[in-house]
Symmetry: C2
Subunit: 115 residues, 2 copies
């Protein structure tokens, strides 16, 4: 439905099996057979997940023509990281307010730490 | 289909309209009518998007009983940030390798900066 790259990346990651495949690939290249093993999944089922990850640009095929190993391409994840940036400021601000509040509490009750 | 909280958050964000709604709410509470305005969308269409965001815990309803303003809850975004952490190390490593490579190039060609 949505075809912008950030939406495609987020949709591709919205599945625990696909995130597990990425985690495996973050430790090095792997063939589809190797990727299927830990999930007790069929070859077609893993291939389907890989296709979604490939379309999002998160996984690419290695050079070996026979084993066609897959490798992780982290670039689309940076796009998410960049998108998160403005919200990071938001939750940092929340944390700062909490810290200020705690400092006010401590000043208002100097013996608080001894209770 | 998937019901783990991280998958629900990622799926909720995999839509440009829903991300735009969040961006609007990051500047402060807004009623459904106010949220619908910039998108030229019907009230039910916006309500549907809000429901997805609410289920993911990204949006909550404010206290005002009449206007039922919506507000952003950034906590689920921290979960994505935490998930990204291990991959961040991966792309930082890529950048470090590139930097080392550039340093090697500069050493091999000390006058490179004067060209």
């Amino acid at each position: 439905m949505t075809t912008d790259s950030l939406s495609m990346t987020l949709a591709a990651l919205a599945d625990p099996t696909r995130r597990a495949i990425l985690a495996r690939l973050s430790r090095g290249e792997a063939s589809v057979t190797e990727l299927a093993e830990p999930f007790a999944m069929s070859f077609p089922a893993v291939s389907k997940h890989l296709k979604v990850l490939e379309r999002a640009g998160l996984v690419a095929r290695g050079r070996d023509a026979q084993f066609r190993p897959r490798r992780l391409q982290p670039e689309p994840l940076r796009e998410i990281d960049k998108w998160l940036e403005s919200y990071r400021a938001l939750w940092d601000a929340r944390f700062d307010r909490l810290e200020t509040y705690l400092q006010v509490l401590q000043k208002g009750d100097p013996d608080g730490s001894h209770n």
